[in-house]
């Protein structure tokens, strides 16, 4: 294995070992700071309930992300077609973006009856803006000479969209997607923290809240671990997607 791969792994392993050693040697009580081994043990002991919650959180995250893609791209296409519509509506998008989701989540939970729908909406609000703003820039970034060439050869609007605008916007869209993937998870968890719902159809945020009420610190860590893994998984899948779509031609994926 090459050194640039081994280095982060070694750092990670060393900090885990340090953590484990610190807890054992200093005899820190598990309700203050559990050792990594105990966190793993707790994770396996509670795997059933945690896995169900993880699945719920994942559904909200990916659901919101899919809606953010659809909404972001659709609105971006409209903005790209008309500057005046963009001028009229962009402030609304900015207002949605700058308002902390923690602050509007209680209102949304009042207005929207279904908790799942409210959570989706909260996560969507956080996730759609990077996709929207990036895609707008991307659609506008098509080379002016190539646009002329398409006109000269009398391309249909559909050909222009498919063969020129979409490929030009793709790197920008993917950059937005990478940001939105992380934000979508944050939005889903934050909204659920505010909702504080209990019961079966709830996510990892609810498990963390429950565990904190009972001072089950190891379980809080176990849920946290699953959230971190989910975030990393989302990040890696988009890195892979980016490589697959842009690797052959775009500067952002060049190795040299």
């Amino acid at each position: 294995m090459r050194i640039e791969r081994a280095l982060p792994l070694a750092t990670f392993a060393a900090s885990l070992l340090g953590w484990e050693a610190l807890v054992r040697l200093a005899q820190i009580p598990h309700y203050t700071l559990p050792a990594p081994s105990l966190v793993l043990q707790t994770l396996f002991a509670n795997f059933g309930s945690l896995a169900t919650s993880w699945w719920f959180t994942l559904k909200i995250t990916l659901g919101a992300l899919v809606l953010a893609c659809a909404g972001g791209v659709l609105i971006a296409a409209v903005f790209a077609l008309s500057r005046s519509i963009e001028r009229a509506l962009f402030p609304v998008a900015v207002v949605l973006q700058v308002t902390p989701v923690v602050a509007i989540a209680p209102l949304i939970l009042i207005y929207v009856e279904s908790t799942t729908a409210a959570l989706l909406l909260c996560a969507w609000i956080v996730a759609f803006f990077p996709i929207l703003s990036n895609t707008v820039i991307g659609l506008r970034s098509a080379d002016a000479n190539l646009k002329d060439l398409f006109r000269l050869y009398r391309a249909t609007p559909w050909q222009r969209l498919r063969l020129l605008l979409v490929p030009s916007a793709l790197p920008y869209f993917i950059a937005g997607l990478k940001v939105s993937g992380g934000l979508s998870l944050i939005g889903a968890v934050t909204a659920e923290m505010v909702a504080g719902a209990a019961g079966r159809e709830t996510g990892l945020a609810s498990r963390i809240l429950e565990a904190s009420f009972r001072t089950e610190t190891p379980k809080m860590f176990a849920a946290l671990l699953l959230l971190v893994l989910t975030g990393v998984l989302v990040f890696w899948s988009f890195e892979a997607l980016s490589k697959a779509l842009l690797g052959r031609w775009h500067a952002s994926e060049r190795k040299d």
Partner: protein, 250 residues
């Protein structure tokens, strides 16, 4: 002169900001003729090409060009930079004009390959633009222009960014393709030497507002080789062009 393929009559072009780019431009290009517009940067040479391509409309005057007559793509345009789609392979870039006309990849492949062979890039069909040098990218651009068998080729300072050796080689390539396919060319440059080597007729343009102020004919027959570049006739032509250019901007 037979019926011209391109004709501009008293053409004015004023842009939205009020800048007058062209004032009373008259010019004609015969089928198969190689005409060069020579002038300094900003004299409206590119505007003439854009008008002939139907990409802009004149403020006044009359224009006749294939792009305005027919619905078929028989006008080709080569820009100053290669203007390739970075996400598409060399072959797919050359395929573009045929693809926009509804021709499938397999159906177009023989013509794409032939166009690439014309510019000496047959082995690079599957390469991506970023893997090529500037000169090779420009050749792909020329192949893309030639693949539709155009009757008119418009070239806007296509070799201005290339080194002298590459430029001379590509000048030769353009003349060879012209010999083989017989298209008319309207070529824009600010290089006296390039104009003298390539053209049958050079139209010298004045600075803004652009007008055609002098015409220099170059009777040297094609094919022209390196011999012409080193001949006294070439040097005389260059001197005549330089004098006309100085006269236009005195």
């Amino acid at each position: 002169m037979s019926t011209p393929i391109v004709a501009l009559e008293e053409v004015d072009k004023r842009f939205e900001g009020g800048v007058q780019a062209l004032a009373g431009v008259n010019l004609q290009v015969a089928p198969g003729e190689f005409v060069t517009l020579l002038g300094p940067s900003g004299c409206g040479k590119s505007t003439v090409l854009r008008l002939a391509a139907g990409l802009d409309t004149p403020s006044a005057g009359r224009i006749d060009a294939p792009a305005l007559r027919s619905s078929r793509a028989d006008t080709a345009f080569v820009f100053q930079d290669a203007t390739l789609m970075p996400w598409a392979s060399v072959a797919d870039n050359v395929w573009l004009p045929l693809r926009l006309a509804g021709e499938g990849r397999a159906q177009a492949r023989p013509r794409v390959d032939r166009a690439l062979a014309t510019v000496g890039l047959a082995e690079f069909a599957d390469a991506f633009p970023r893997q090529l040098s500037g000169g090779m990218r420009m050749r792909v651009s020329i192949a893309r222009a030639l693949v539709t068998q155009p009757t008119l080729l418009l070239m806007d300072e296509p070799f201005a960014a290339l080194d002298e050796i590459t430029r001379q080689k590509l000048n030769g390539d353009v003349l060879a393709a012209r010999q083989a396919q017989g298209f008319a060319t309207l070529f824009v440059t600010h290089s006296v030497y390039e104009a003298a080597f390539l053209s049958q007729r050079v139209l010298v343009m004045s600075a803004r507002p652009g007008r055609v102020v002098a015409e220099v004919g170059i009777p040297e027959p094609y094919p022209r080789g390196a011999g012409f570049r080193n001949s006294g006739r070439f040097i005389e032509t260059c001197a005549a062009l330089s004098a006309a250019l100085e006269g236009a901007h005195a």
